[in-house]
């Protein structure tokens, strides 16, 4: 059982009122007189002289009948036509995808489509009768519920005006699903959608009583810089840029390539594109630079995709010191990982003060441990990450060679052992020894730990407890992966730039070891109609407080630098990331609003943004497809008034009864 109008419980106030009347029943002041005789006769006189007094007894009857009639009438649920203030809520979905940063419709006077949409929605909200609650959803990667059932119009306007464009991918379906969830709660709810039409939405999925479409933006033209890449040559760079033009008429403009820090383009190319044409432009002989910005200078309606950034994929190679004989396989694997190897023979090489600065990390393989016992070696080994590879042929002091029991491997999660299974590997002999304090086994083969990882003096340490030559690991694909991950983990791997990412997306970053703090610094933001502030965004942290390897990409397209800092606030390094808007937003292949399906058929039966202001003010409901909104907002229910009338009649009845013969 449901109570359709729980608010009518306010009539229950009549019960304490009745109770109060009984309690406070006015007792007539008692006056003693000699005799009632004359008063009785007087009252009889009065009665006789007033013919309608004879009806007094039937007055109560009349009132009872009236009360019953009112009750019956109320049960028949009378409604009269009128502009009732209906309580039906309004759910507003605002499309804030990147395409909404395009130009507004002609003559609207707004800076962009988003502003135009917000203006028209806010005006329409102001025109609503006040008790209607308003909910606002901003579509984005995940829909954001900005307001829920808010009746204060100022709050609604404030929330609407706080909506900023979202350059990432927009999940339209999720926004509509959320809107549907809100609409289901209340009867007669209306759904308002403010969009520029490049919003794929099937509104039939939403069970709202009415729909209202606020159109913004125009069916314009867009020339998009779809791709831009740099090629680092020996002494000059090459570049290629792909342009696509969407529109009804040909586009003309220039493509300019501007190196980092320069104000003048290094190269310019005029172009003329036919509608729908895609063309690749190549450039040669560009002066080397850290990065390049390519931009289209043309008159188009959407400029979030008019600029792109690229940087040469020149990885910074790590440097490792190989102490001992090493092996061909190891050298090859590390080389694949982008590590430059310098070999040192401990017998003949003694490190000096400058050695530590020349290497990023050290791998000890096939070296005589006693030769590493000197102060200089110990100092070097203490100051850099070290990877020891033990050999069963000459185990370290305190260790012994064993054979694994079987070939089952147990891999613990660790950056070094990620994607490594040792499944098909056969290891003949493993050294069982104490790897040192703070080392944990991260891979166990046949019951014997084969890999230890840990840290000493804050530097990572890795121990491989078997000689790769004692196994067929070098012949497996696991080996270069293991080597590359070890190299990366030890901090000497190729720390290349971060590449390109979509705005508001997620990116995995291999952090340098020793990173305590990191931040995004905006180098340049793509020219957009939104004002771009000089932004420094603090990197996200994990629950333990360390910098997280998974970061959110900054929301505004542009070129960003990810800078990592060590414990003493020393800058450990920085990498570039080019952030672009979701590519689909610029691909204006469809006519706006073609993808929007309104229930009841018909794509566009809503008002144009330019008119919405005037219409919103007058409060007339715009009929969009087939909605049964007449069920709620067009009628005023009379039942509450009849209930009040009944209560008044009961009060009158009470008075008549109370006066009794005194009437």
């Amino acid at each position: 059982m449901l109570l359709q109008s729980a608010a009518s419980a306010v009539f229950a106030l009549a019960l304490p009122a009745i109770l109060l009347l009984y309690l406070l029943k006015r007792r007539y002041p008692e006056t003693e007189i000699a005799s009632h005789l004359l008063w009785r006769r007087a009252l009889r006189e009065m009665e006789a002289n007033r013919p309608w007094q004879r009806l007094r007894r039937s007055l109560l009857l009349l009132l009872q009948l009236l009360v019953a009639a009112c009750l019956v009438f109320a049960l028949m649920r009378p409604v009269i036509p009128g502009q009732a203030a209906s309580e039906a809520p309004v759910v507003i979905v605002v499309d804030r995808s990147a395409s909404m940063t395009a130009a507004a419709s002609r003559g609207s006077g707004a800076a962009g489509a988003l502003e135009e949409a917000i203006r028209s929605v806010a005006d329409a909200v102001d025109g609503l009768p006040s008790p209607r609650p308003v909910s606002v959803i901003a579509a984005g990667t995940e829909p954001e519920l900005l307001l829920r059932d808010e009746t204060d119009r100022r709050e609604v306007r404030r929330a609407l005006e706080s909506i900023r464009p979202h350059f990432g991918r927009t999940d339209e379906e999720a926004a509509l699903t959320l809107a549907d969830a809100l609409v289901r709660d209340a009867a007669g709810a209306e759904l308002w959608l403010a969009t520029d039409g490049r919003f794929r939405a099937d509104l039939t999925a939403v069970n709202a009583a009415g729909f209202r479409l606020f159109k913004a933006g125009r069916d314009g033209a867009n020339t998009s810089l779809a791709a831009f890449g740099l090629q680092a040559g020996a002494d000059a760079f090459g570049a290629s840029a792909t342009l696509i033009h969407y529109g009804a008429r040909p586009a003309e403009g220039t493509l300019a390539l501007v190196p980092a820090g320069a104000s003048e383009p290094a190269a310019e190319r005029p172009f003329r594109l036919e509608p729908g044409e895609q063309r690749v432009f190549t450039f040669e002989g560009l002066p080397p630079a850290d990065h390049y910005r390519a931009e289209i200078r043309t008159a188009d309606d959407y400029d979030a995709d008019n600029a792109a950034f690229a940087f040469p994929a020149v990885p910074e190679r790590g440097r490792a010191l190989l102490v001992g004989e090493g092996s061909l396989f190891l050298n090859a694997a590390l080389g694949l990982a982008g590590v430059d190897i310098a070999r040192a023979d401990p017998a003949s090489f003694e490190p000096d003060a400058g050695t530590a600065g020349d290497v990023d990390w050290i791998v000890i393989y096939g070296a005589d441990e006693r030769a590493l016992d000197t102060a200089a070696w110990r100092g070097l080994l203490d100051s850099r990450p070290v990877w020891r590879i033990w050999s069963a042929a000459s185990p370290p002091p305190g260790g012994e060679a064993t054979e694994p029991e079987d070939s089952r491997s147990d891999i613990r999660p660790h950056p070094v052992t990620a994607h490594v299974t040792l499944a098909d590997t056969h290891i003949a002999r493993i050294v069982r020894a104490d790897p040192g304090p703070g080392m944990e086994p991260i891979a166990i083969y046949g019951g014997v730990p084969v890999l230890y990882a840990g840290s000493a003096n804050g530097l990572p340490r890795l121990v491989m407890a078997f000689d790769p030559a004692d196994s067929d690991l070098p012949l497996r694909a696991d080996f270069p992966i293991l080597a590359a991950q070890a190299a990366e983990w030890l901090g000497g791997a190729a720390v290349g730039h971060l590449g390109r990412a979509e705005a508001d997306g997620r990116i995995e970053i291999g952090l340098r070891s020793g990173t305590v703090r990191a931040e995004w610094q905006a180098v340049e933001t793509a020219p957009a109609r939104q004002a771009a502030e000089a932004v420094v965004i603090e990197a996200e942290r994990t629950a333990e407080g360390a910098v997280s390897a998974a970061q959110s990409v900054p929301g505004i397209p542009g070129l960003y630098r990810f800078v990592e800092y060590g414990a003493d606030n020393a800058e450990l390094g920085s990498r570039l990331l080019a952030v672009h808007a979701a590519p689909g937003e610029g691909m204006w292949t469809e006519v706006p609003f073609a993808g929007i399906v309104l229930p009841g058929g018909g794509g566009e039966s809503a008002e144009q943004p330019g008119e919405s202001g005037a219409n919103g003010a007058s409060g007339a409901t715009q009929e969009t497809a087939g909605a049964n909104n007449a069920g709620t907002s067009g009628w005023i229910g009379l039942a509450p008034y009849i209930a009040v009338l009944i209560l008044l009649l009961l009060a009158a009845e009470w008075e008549v009864y109370r006066r009794g013969a005194a009437f």
């Binding site: 007189i33 000699a34 005799s35 009632h36 005789l37 006189e45």
Partner: protein
């Protein structure tokens, strides 16, 4: 004899009668007055019916034309000699009149606002019973001064007490004592019908005389029949209608719950203009009925408002109305 009966009747002989005893001025005034025997003033003899009042005293009253059948001894021969017309002489009756005072002591008479019914000392001068008793005292004194005999009866729903006729000014204290005793508390609330106390055998005097009925007349029924009973008992009745100012002109206002002093019944009345007018109508009707009956029977109706000072009522109004007359 009568003394014995009276001792039994008034119990505390000589108990005082301080409350009902008229003041000095009143006493002086009353000594010169007497109760009217028949309620007609001098010189208004009306017809044969009244002739019973004429007696064989020596006091010449009036001439009357001779009608065959009259007593020839009464013919005034001097007038016949001079005018040739026959006239009969009439004389005032000097027979002793028995004046009986019937005092209504029912609860409606006793009613004192504030529930002080039981203590006569606290009653205001407008108290109906007190006023009526005082009137009875005054008229009784006048009767005794006028050489009439005075008796008194108090009744509620039955005869409560009786003072057998006394004669002479010296007996006034006994009358006063009896009346004072009537003020005392009584359990009997009274009856709705006046016949209940008065239509019983022995209630009314045996011989002809004058009776004064002092009551507030608030009886639903039986008044007209009782008056007829008095007439049948050859009494000339003076109906002294004693009502308080609140009953002549109620000062009540608003919505009240009226409690009847006699029956203790409660009645919710919204007293407004219309209700007051209706009350006035009812009162006029009630009074009018009693007046009519009195007129039919040749009785006297005398309305008393207890707010009028006693002296004025007794010495001025009663005299003017013919209830009391100057002694000859």
């Amino acid at each position: 004899m009568s003394a014995d009966r009276n001792t039994a009747a008034d119990g505390r002989a000589g108990a005082g009668g301080a409350l009902v005893r008229p003041g000095e001025t009143l006493l002086r005034g009353l000594e010169r007055l007497a109760v009217s025997a028949s309620g007609r003033t001098r010189g208004t003899q009306q017809g044969k019916r009244r002739s019973g009042a004429l007696g064989s005293s020596l006091e010449f009253a009036d001439y009357r034309a001779y009608v065959p059948g009259d007593d020839i001894r009464r013919l005034d021969w001097n007038v016949w000699g001079r005018t040739g017309r026959a006239y009969i002489r009439q004389y005032w009756d000097e027979q002793e009149t028995d004046v009986t005072f019937y005092l209504d002591v029912s609860r409606s008479m006793r009613f004192a606002p504030g529930g002080a019914d039981s203590d006569p000392a606290t009653w205001p001068d407008t108290h109906k019973l007190l006023y009526a008793a005082r009137i009875a005292a005054c008229a009784g004194y006048a009767a005794l001064c006028g050489d009439d005999r005075a008796a008194a009866v108090r009744f509620a729903s039955g005869i409560e007490g009786r003072l057998h006729p006394v004669r002479g000014r010296g007996a006034a204290h006994r009358l006063f004592a009896f009346l004072e005793q009537s003020l005392g508390p009584a359990a009997d609330p009274g009856a709705e019908d006046l016949r209940t106390p008065l239509a019983v055998p022995g209630a009314l005097p045996a011989g002809p005389g004058v009776s004064w009925l002092l009551t507030d007349g608030l009886y639903a029924s039986g008044i007209e029949e009782t008056l007829g009973a008095f007439a049948a008992a050859r009494q000339h009745l003076v109906f002294v209608h004693v009502l308080g100012p609140d009953e002549w002109r109620p000062a009540l206002r608003g919505e009240l719950r009226l409690i009847d002093a006699e029956s203790a019944a409660a009645k919710d009345v919204a007293v407004h203009e219309q209700a007051l007018r209706a009350y006035g109508e009812a009162l006029r009707e009630h009074v009018g009925a009693i007046r009519r009956r009195c007129a039919e029977l040749g009785f006297v109706y005398f309305a008393v408002d207890t707010s009028v000072p006693l002296e004025e009522t007794v010495l001025v109004r009663m005299v003017r109305h013919g209830l009391l007359q100057r002694q000859r």
